[in-house]
């Protein structure tokens, strides 16, 4: 992985008609990086991906790839591959012909074509299915054909739209491993779009969290998971107790609360349920709901601060509904947020 920027989005603005989907987006991606675009539906992640592929015209700004401005280069001349969420295999062609499609358009013929196609099919473990039609394959197999079809073209960038979301749990792990292997073996720059934070954390080198057409945070999986910069990111990655700060104090539905002796400078604080201390502390709450999750037990508390979610080890004694408990929100454990809402 070199440090130079390989793919750059500069002040990228994208729109469907008059409605702007992505505004002034800047993003630098290095060669061989594995990037996740993470966000809820409608955040502009798929739109951004389609613009990189050239399927959506750019309203303003630039897309640069490998030193060239490709903003106006048509999709069929970009050397960008895309694995569609629905795979988009050609139903009238066999696995072999699907994989050969792009190479034939490049003018490749004969033994060279055959060797490339065979090795592409082999690399995804589908050699014995070469003559099948897409309809005769399982979803996971179809996706691997789609992957091989894009990869034999040796794209500069491979885009993947929700690559794991249509697969069951066992196939997900398989596909995740497959993608990491392909990435490692070929060094292709990969960008995948997902709404599932677990998927992004598990697979990506860097995660780009998007919200309403803008980048909310860019960081390593560890950054995103432990150090969210905004209440939106915190909420998205599982911090369930999020409060703004006002004059260094926690602003709750029960008024301003002093958490520590010195004034806190962030815009807000966030705690995962696991970070809440249960059984001791200055606050009190009533157990409104409880759920058992094997290793742990989750409680929903009614408190003067508003609802609080706490999670404790399952080995701890259980609390009944309606029980009155003391708890603490330890300021030193909280993730400080620099932006709220």
């Amino acid at each position: 992985m070199s440090d130079a920027t390989y793919l750059a989005l500069q002040k990228l603005t994208l729109a469907y008609g008059d409605s702007v989907a992505v505004a002034d987006l800047d993003l630098d991606i290095k060669k061989s990086e594995l990037i996740a675009l993470l966000g809820p539906s409608g955040c502009g992640k798929t739109t951004t991906m389609r613009a990189i592929a050239g399927l959506l015209p750019v309203k303003s700004g630039h897309v640069r790839l490998d030193g060239a401005d490709i903003t106006r280069v048509p999709a069929n001349k970009r050397a960008v591959g895309l694995v569609f969420q629905s795979y988009a295999l050609f139903p009238h062609l066999s696995v072999y012909e699907n994989v050969a499609f792009g190479l034939k358009l490049k003018g490749m013929r004969g033994a060279e074509l055959d060797a490339r196609v065979q090795s592409g099919i082999k690399s995804v473990g589908l050699s014995s299915f070469a003559n099948r039609k897409p309809a005769e394959l399982s979803g996971g197999q179809q996706q691997r054909v789609a992957l091989a079809r894009s990869m034999v073209m040796e794209p500069k960038v491979l885009l993947l739209d929700e690559p794991l979301s249509n697969l069951d749990a066992r196939l997900r792990l398989e596909m995740r491993t497959e993608l990491q292997r392909v990435q490692k073996e070929t060094g292709v720059t990969m960008i995948f779009v997902t709404h599932d934070q677990a998927e992004a954390l598990a697979l990506a080198d860097r995660i780009v969290v998007m919200k309403s057409g803008k980048i909310e945070q860019i960081g390593s999986p560890e950054d995103i998971y432990s150090r969210p910069v905004s209440s939106f990111v915190a909420d998205f990655v599982g911090f369930e107790n999020i409060f703004p700060l006002e004059q260094g104090k926690l602003k709750t539905s029960g008024g301003l609360i002093d958490l520590s002796s010195q004034a806190l400078s962030a815009a807000g604080l966030a705690w995962r349920p696991r970070m809440v201390t249960l059984g001791s502390g200055p606050f009190r709450g009533t157990v409104r709901g409880t759920s058992f999750a094997g290793d742990s037990r989750e409680y929903l508390l009614d408190t003067p601060l508003g609802p609080i979610k706490a999670e404790v080890e399952a080995s701890q004694p259980a609390h009944a509904l309606g029980a009155d408990l003391s708890f603490d929100l330890p300021a030193e454990k909280a993730a400080p947020l620099s932006r709220f809402a």
Binding site: L55, F84, A88, F90, G102, M153
Partner: protein
């Protein structure tokens, strides 16, 4: 059996008798040995079947009908396939209106279409008889072409075109490489449906036919007005079996009924 349980089978029998009966009578009459069109037939012979092939005007009008059915349907598909594509792939303003207008020749009675074409296009613009017939048959087949091709396009995912483009194909190339092969069945079905519709068309052709230029059904009516022998029945039977054969083959090899 009670009266109630007899009701359905009896009704069914009557309906079927009305649907198939005339056809059976015509087939039986065409094997008659008699001189006039009669039922029950007098005797049994192939003489009227054979006579069909010797009537000169039948040969000319059959050729004309064949030309209109093949040419008109082909022209309707050339217009209809791009139209269907635009209607199914793009959110066009007024797409529904276009769909309705395109379907108009199905809904409007043929007599009116024929009269309108004659009065406002053929006469004022001095259109020749053959071009006028060709135009009319193309227009009549167009709705079927658009409907059937649209149905198969709607069943086809549109992202395969984007996939083809990203693999290096042009937009137009993607249409021919991945769309056309997947709607081939629909196009062939539209062709057969259009062919049969055009071939059996009477009212519009009646208005537009002129001296020496007739379609086969119009010619058969003209023939019957002069000669009342069983050769018209024989020809009808031959045509009916031809149509049945085509539709049966289409169903067998293409799954025709999926598209219609």
């Amino acid at each position: 059996m009670t009266a109630r349980s007899l009701f359905i089978p009896v009704t069914l029998f009557i309906v079927l008798a009305f649907l198939i009966g005339p056809f059976l009578i015509i087939v039986a009459a065409s094997f008659s040995a008699g001189e006039t069109l009669n039922f029950p037939p007098q005797g049994f012979s192939f003489r009227w079947i054979l006579k069909v092939f010797t009537v000169e005007s039948f040969q000319a009008s059959f050729a004309m009908s064949l030309f209109l059915a093949i040419g008109g349907t082909a022209a309707a598909l050339v217009l209809g396939i791009p139209a269907s594509y635009a209607l199914s792939r793009y959110k066009l303003p007024g797409a529904e209106i276009v769909r309705t207008i395109v379907s108009a020749p199905i809904i409007v009675p043929g007599i009116i279409v024929g009269l309108a074409l004659l009065r406002y296009i053929v006469v004022p613009f001095q259109v020749g008889i053959t071009p006028a017939l060709f135009l009319a048959h193309t227009a009549l087949v167009l709705p079927y072409a658009v409907r059937v091709v649209s149905a198969s396009l709607d069943n086809l995912r549109s992202d395969i075109e984007e996939a083809a483009v990203l693999l290096g194909s042009s937009r137009l190339g993607a249409f021919f490489r991945v769309v056309m092969p997947n709607i081939r069945g629909g196009i062939l079905s539209a062709f057969i449906l259009g062919f049969v519709t055009s071939f059996n068309q009477v009212p519009v052709s009646l208005f537009l036919s002129g001296p020496g230029v007739r379609t086969l059904p119009v010619d058969m009516i003209a023939y019957m007005e002069i000669v009342f022998d069983p050769s018209v029945a024989a020809l009808s039977s031959l045509l009916a079996f031809l149509s049945i054969g085509i539709v049966f083959a289409a169903e067998r090899f293409l799954g025709f009924s999926r598209y219609v």
